[in-house]
Structures are given as C-alpha cells and as structure tokens.
C-alpha cells in the first residue's frame, strides 16, 4: 500500500522541520491568513508584508506534522521577493509535484516533496501553508481550509 517512508521524509524535509525558516509572527505584516487542516488539526498562520504587489517579507507560525511544517518553511523561502502572480505560478508547480510526483525541470529543494504523491492523505499537509499564503495575498483574511480547496 504505502511506498517506503524514506521517500516521503526526505532529508530536506526533515531539515526544514527541525530548523524551520521564517518562523514566527512578522511584526511588520500588513496581510495575514489562517489555514486549517480539519482532518488532523494542523494549523498555519501566514504573515506577509506586501510592498506594492511584491512580497517584501513573509513568515509562518503554527503547528503540524513534519510535512506541513517543512512545506510552510520552504514556501516562505520560495515566495520572498515574489509578486502575487509569480507566487501563484510557484504554487501551481508545487501542486503538480506533490500530486503527480514529477520532479521539476530545474534543481530545487521543492523536489523533495515529490514523495508526497504516493501518500495522498498527506497532500493536504503539504499544501496547507501555501493555501494560507495565497489567501493572505488575496487580502482575504478568511480561513484557508484544505478541505475547501481542491488539492
């Protein structure tokens, strides 16, 4: 049934989980959104300082499994400095990786998430932080739940 767990818990993921980047509440944030994964209780707040259309600063806070924490951490490193449109594109790429397992053309840390596709129940974990970030960009302070999005 399940593939080998080392496929899922790759070194990059374990590293981000142990030492999350950009973790905490951003004092200068002018956008914030909250994400919930109701099936397991994972939560993720994403804080942005938008400078015009560009993400000048970003952080996340919350609690959840290794996959969701690592994904949120990596997401912050990916989105910093990007425009809303660029963020949307990056999310699409990430979504493709975790749902199909196809690794991206360019070498990138997000490739570590390709193993998720073999564990469909964990796709929601991997996308929780991204959903919250996109919602924050839309200045939409409503909760992002992974259940109301089609992953």
């Amino acid at each position: 049934m399940s593939a080998d767990l080392t496929e899922l818990y790759q070194q990059v993921i374990l590293d981000h989980n142990r030492r999350p980047r950009n973790r905490g509440r951003l004092p200068t944030a002018n956008r914030v959104a909250h994400g919930d994964n109701p099936s397991c209780g994972d939560q993720c707040d994403v804080f942005l300082r938008l400078d015009g259309d560009r993400i000048a600063e970003i952080s996340f806070d919350g609690s959840g499994c290794a996959i969701s924490q690592a994904s949120a951490s990596l997401m912050t490193t990916q989105l910093k400095g990007k425009t809303a449109a660029e963020a949307e594109t990056l999310y699409q790429e990430f979504h493709d990786i975790v749902t199909t397992g196809k690794e991206p053309a360019e070498i990138s840390d997000v490739a570590a998430f390709a193993g998720v596709h073999a564990f469909p129940a964990r796709i929601k974990c991997a996308t929780l932080g991204w959903h919250a970030a996109l919602n924050a960009l839309k200045a939409d302070a409503t909760t992002a739940t992974t259940e109301s999005h089609t992953d």
């Binding site: 399940s2 919930d36 109701p38 397991c40 469909p120 129940a121 909760t143 259940e147 109301s148």
Partner: protein
Amino acid sequence: MPSWKDVRADFPILHQQVNGRPLVYLDNGATTQKPRAVIDALVRYYERDNSNVHRGLHTLSMRATDAYEGARARVAKFVNAADPAEIIFTRGTTESINLVARSYGGKLGRGDVILCTEMEHHSNLVPWQQAAKASGATLKFVPFIGANAEGGLDLEALDRLLTPQVKVFAFTHISNTLGTINPVAELCRRARAVGAVTVIDAAQSAGHAPLDVRLLGCDFLAFSGHKMCGPTGIGVLYGRFALLDQLSPDETGGGMVVSVDFEGAKWKPAPERFEAGTPNVAGAIGLGAACDYLDSLDRVAIRQHDDELARVAYEKLATLPGIRLIGPTGERGGLVSFAFEGVHAHDVVTFADEDGVALRGGHHCNQPLMRKLGLTSTTRASFYLYNTAEEIDLLVASLRRTLKFFIG
C-alpha cells in the same frame, strides 16, 4: 438488452417459497430486493476495509475513505451531477427532504409560498408543513385532474399558482400510488422562471429510469438506496453546489466542522457540512455497487421492462369485475394501484400472500391524495427488473380467487 431471466438469478431472496408457493414479489414500490453484487460489496467492506473515514491516516482508514468518497463520485455520475460535492449521503429520501426543508426552509418567511402537489408522499409533504409553520410561509398545492387522477397534474392551475412569491416547489417524479410520471423538466423550467427553487422526490424513479439532474434542471433531488437495489439506511440528497454552499448545516457534530471552541463552531463546505457524525460507510459503498449493477443492465432497458409490465398488468386487471384502477390510463411508471367494490385492500393482500404474491395495501403514505379520490386504501402491485409477465398472471389469478371468496 439484458436477459431478464438471468437477472432473477442475481437475487438470492427470490428463490424461496412463501406459504408453499414460489415468491412473487410485487412490493417494489416499498423496497426492492438486493442483487448478490450489492450484498457482496457490504461483506467485502466489512471483511477487508472497515474503518472510520476522513479522520484517519492509517491504511484501512484511507481505504475506507477512498471507498466512501468513491461511492459519492459514483452516485454523482449516476445522476450526472457536475461535482461529487453535490452529493450528500443521508438515511433516505425522507431525511434528504427534511434536510432541505429545514436548511432551505430557514431562509423563508411570512409572505413566501411553498408549493407542493396533491399527490405527494407524506415524506414530501409533512416536512414542508413543518417548514411553513416554522417560517410563517404559506403552503399551497397543485391539484391533479380526474376522478382517478388519470389526468395528471393540472398545469394550468400550476401557472396560476407559480407566482414570484413561490420560493420552493417540491414535487414527486413518479407518484408511488398513481404511477403518474410528472413532466419534471418542464416543472423545473416553469419554477425557474419565477425564481423558485425546485425539490424533486425521486424515490420512485431513481432505480427505474435514467436520471440527469442537469438535464432536469432541478436544484435538489432526493432518493433512497433501498428502492434501487441498494442497502437500507442510505439515501441521497443532490443539491446544486451554489445553493448548498449558502445553506446552514442541519445536524451538527464531529466531521462537519473546521474548528470548534466552547462558544461556537465553523462549518466545512458541502458535502461535509451536511454529514455530521460517522456516516453509513458500508451503506454508501453498497449504494455505489447498486449504481454499477443498474447501469450494467442499462436503465433505459429497465424502464422499458418495468413500464411494460405495468401496462400489461393494467390491461389484465381492467378485466376484473368491480375493479377501480387509479392513475394514468396511458404511460405510467412500473406500478398499478386499484380498489375493489366490496373487498378491502387489506383482505386482498392477505389472500395474495397465501398465494405467495407480495402486494401492498393501504394509503401508501398518501392520505390526502386518497381522501381526494374518495378512498381510504388501495392495493398496489409494483414491478421491478426481476418481475415477469407470468407473475402478472399469478397476480390476476390470485385476485380472482379473492373476489370469488368475498363476492361469489
């Protein structure tokens, strides 16, 4: 075209004697029998995959969730819904209608009108009476035409009744007492023109004919698994997503909330919002298997088969002395209701049972309709894919014996 003789072999229950005679099961309007494929699906689930759904991350729970959500997708396909999220699993038609009547009914107020028809089953009538009482809305009824309701719904009266005040129009697809097939697509079209939300009671049609919610253009549609080869305790409410999304939940509890604190809760979107607590997982999977079974036979063929039996039955029954046949004289769904001068339905059913023939006698949860027809009960023979023309002959012979006993 399926071989209808082979179909009988799929149903274990049919191969038994009742009162020393081969069982002739003609009570399909009440509930249908189950093919081996549906029974096996239940057994397989309990022997291999049983687990709670949604909240689990272990293998069995993922399998159970996939099977349950797979059944939802299967049912969505069965009625051609645009999205599996439009399929809510309930206990049956009655609960489905209660759900709409309460959730959508909560949006109604004084001055609003709920429109039903005079041929509704209690399950598509009493919930609307309750909704009207709770909201202050007025409940009105589209009348039927003819002393035996042979003329169907009065569509001219409908035009007068369908004012912009009408917020809900709830009607049956096929009448469980009359056999009338209502022009549901047309009814939806007219309702839409005044902005009324439509609720179709498809209890008697879902297992008997192709059903396409997008072709019908309805907003809600309700049916029961047990009347279409599926298990007991499972049914469906289809709801157009844009509408469902606006509705408050009906029952509340585990599984339908995003977050809860001591003060209050936030709801998940449809369909979860409307499925509080552990659902009937095995029931949903069995219903999915029933959809597969019916489609493997082809629902157009099933409709022809059932309707043809009803036509033959109508003709043969018409030759019996003192019989009064109810409902349309031409096209009808797969059932015939009738009453005898001087012999009560209850006695007819008891005599038929002695001959192995299972019929239903009574008001069929249609008391107001009965009263308008000047009856308190009828006898009903209702057909399904495993019934045969020979069984109709057995029915007629049994009725002759009954008439002889009581009338001479």
